[in-house]
């Protein structure tokens, strides 16, 4: 019962606050766009030449065209899918690793804990940017490497958080009650403790999305990112040559699209943290 009221209350708090509600709507709209692009419903024809090269924004092309006369608006929309998928898939990689390792370490303690702590200390000792570069450099260039590289670099923080939470929870009354009715380790951990600490995962995911989206831009600039598709990173990167000739629109609209979603995830992350875990308020990140 408590779990439902916690989430219900959190949602109420977020919807009540105008800025948080706006952020939530931005995230939902971006998600829908990303799904539609993935299904091929919209902007499947982004690569077609539709007008002259470098046409400035006008009523025909609201975001202008690029050097091949392609519609910048369509590229920006396609970029939504790339950005959201980078955030989503890298989270899908890092969440299972982080939660399972963190929960195991926190719950069992002792040698198991020491080994897992050693393991994540090791990973966190390699500066993220170097690990990102190394992984995406070694794997074949492309978006799959970006997913894997980001997934493998972002689980550490989550693992540490989950471990801390599980340690706090494992001796609470409700867990002892499960022991009393004969529940084993697996039942205690997966049916009772993890659902109770899962808010940490959600808060972390919303922060991870924006880290992932920003990293994609950097990796694309380094030539280690997305290859065949348009992405905001590639569009911003193109602007390096375009700005001096006054072609500002690719940079402006890719930046704007990215700004909105990163801002939304930032605000939503803070709002979720305040709503779900008042004790953590402001302690992280």
């Amino acid at each position: 019962m408590k779990k439902e009221s916690l989430w219900g209350e959190a949602l109420k708090k977020i919807v009540k606050d105008k800025i948080s509600l706006f952020s939530l709507i931005v995230v939902l709209v971006y998600t829908i766009i990303a799904i539609l692009v993935s299904l091929g419903v919209i902007v499947g024809d982004w690569h077609q030449t539709v007008g002259p090269n470098y046409a400035p924004p006008s009523s025909d092309f609201i975001f202008g065209t690029d050097f091949l006369g392609r519609d910048v608006f369509k590229k920006v929309i396609y970029g939504v899918q790339v950005a959201m998928s980078v955030g989503f898939i890298s989270s899908m990689i890092s969440i299972p690793i982080g939660v399972v390792l963190g929960a195991t370490a926190g719950y069992f303690g002792g040698v198991v804990d020491e080994i897992i702590v050693w393991f994540y200390t090791t990973f966190s000792s390699i500066p993220t940017i170097m690990l990102l570069i190394s992984i995406s450099f070694i794997l074949e260039k492309g978006i799959t490497s970006v997913y894997i590289a980001l997934g493998l670099t972002t689980w550490v923080h989550l693992c540490r958080l989950v471990r801390g939470e599980v340690i706090k929870h494992k001796n609470r009354d409700y867990v002892q009650a499960v022991t009393a009715i004969g529940g084993g380790h697996a039942r205690k951990l997966f049916r009772h403790i993890i659902p109770n600490v899962f808010h940490v995962v959600i808060i972390n995911a919303s922060l991870q999305f924006q880290v992932a989206i920003k990293s994609e831009v950097i990796l694309s600039y380094l030539g280690l990112g997305v290859q065949e598709q348009p992405s905001w990173g590639k569009m911003i990167n193109d602007a390096k040559q375009e700005l001096t000739s006054g072609y500002w629109w690719q940079l402006a609209f890719a930046t704007l699209a990215m700004f909105l979603i990163v801002l939304a995830f930032n605000i939503l992350g803070d709002a979720l943290r305040d709503a779900l875990d008042p004790k953590l308020k402001g302690k992280e990140s």
């Binding site: 690990l131 190394s134 992984i135 070694i138 794997l139 700005l243 001096t244 940079l251 990163v262």
Partner: protein, 313 residues
């Protein structure tokens, strides 16, 4: 004495982490990467050439020996030879560190000082309009890609207004200032968002403590409380946050250096990526990890010095 013992114990604790880091790097570069000889020799290499090169690079040895090589390089900083320039990697790193530091070090000191001052200011006005404004501004600043700042600032201030050099570098003070000032300003703009956000939270955590209420009850002025009590107690998290960033200064500002043509360490990494120079990337991964580990240790020791409450065992 206690501090010394503590430091030694923490040093011992570093060994398994160094072995671990070496293992991750060994797995990535020696196992997953596989055989790099076709990249080096091209498609038409003879079998004998491949054999020779593999021997030269130590790739024909057992995996255990290769792993131990990685561990050894973590202690000796002898990373072998760059494939593209044929220079010793440790020499390259030493010669290119200087331009990087002339950019990052002043920028880092200025941005940290600035951020602490701003966060003291907003902590004083907490909950009022200016505080909310700065908070929102920080989040907004953080929501724009660093690449965009660099592109825009370079275009606007160097290309359009011609206030600064667009790119290039000259060693020696004050000659380098003409080249490092604009990237330095961009660095400051990039760091202020996350820094102020963090420092503000840390200070607000302290401001609601009982000792602050006592100080206020004694009739101390708010400014005195902020500077003498709050800032002092907030010092522990601030030190951690600041010291942990130092390894990244050595890494150089990857993007800034490449945009402004500063021949620093960031440039070395970029060149290595473009020319598939694996040993250089590997060297940087090892080196930055070791520096990070060492600075982590320094933070822990500083912790114990600054705050006697932290137990030394």
């Amino acid at each position: 004495m206690q501090i010394l013992q503590y430091t030694l114990r923490r040093l011992l604790y570093l060994l398994p982490v160094i072995f671990g880091v070496s293992f991750v790097i060994f797995i990535l570069f020696n196992v997953v990467l596989g055989d790099p000889t076709p990249i080096l020799l091209g498609k038409n290499a003879t079998l004998k050439q491949i054999e020779e090169l593999r021997h030269q690079l130590g790739l024909d040895r057992s995996w255990l020996m290769q792993y131990l090589d990685v561990v050894k390089s973590a202690f000796t900083f002898d990373f072998g030879i760059s494939w593209s320039t044929k220079q010793k990697i440790s020499d390259i790193i030493i010669s290119r560190a200087y331009p990087s530091l002339t950019l990052t070090l002043p920028a880092f000191v200025i941005s940290t000082t600035f951020s602490i001052l701003i966060s003291l200011f907003v902590a004083y006005y907490r909950g009022r309009g200016i505080d909310t404004f700065v908070r929102v501004l920080c989040i907004a600043l953080m929501s724009i890609s660093s690449l965009v700042y660099i592109l825009f600032f370079q275009w606007f201030f160097a290309f359009h207004l011609e206030w600064f050099e667009i790119s290039g570098y000259e060693p020696g003070f004050p000659d380098f200032l003409a080249y490092t000032t604009l990237p330095g300003i961009i660095w400051i703009v990039l760091s202020i968002g996350p820094d102020v956000r963090f420092f503000r939270t840390v200070m607000l955590d302290e401001i609601y403590q009982d000792y602050v209420r006592t100080a206020r009850a004694k009739g101390l002025r708010e400014v005195t409380i902020l500077l003498k009590h709050v800032l002092r107690n907030a010092l522990v998290p601030i030190i951690t946050y600041v010291v942990i960033q130092i390894p990244f200064l050595i890494l150089g500002a990857l993007l800034l250096e490449s945009f402004f043509g500063i021949p620093g360490l960031g440039g070395v990494i970029l060149e290595a990526i473009n020319s598939s120079d694996f040993p250089v990337i590997k060297a940087f991964a090892i080196l930055t990890s070791i520096v990070y580990i060492v600075f982590n240790l320094i933070t822990d020791v500083l912790y114990a010095v600054v705050d006697p409450r932290i137990k030394l065992h």
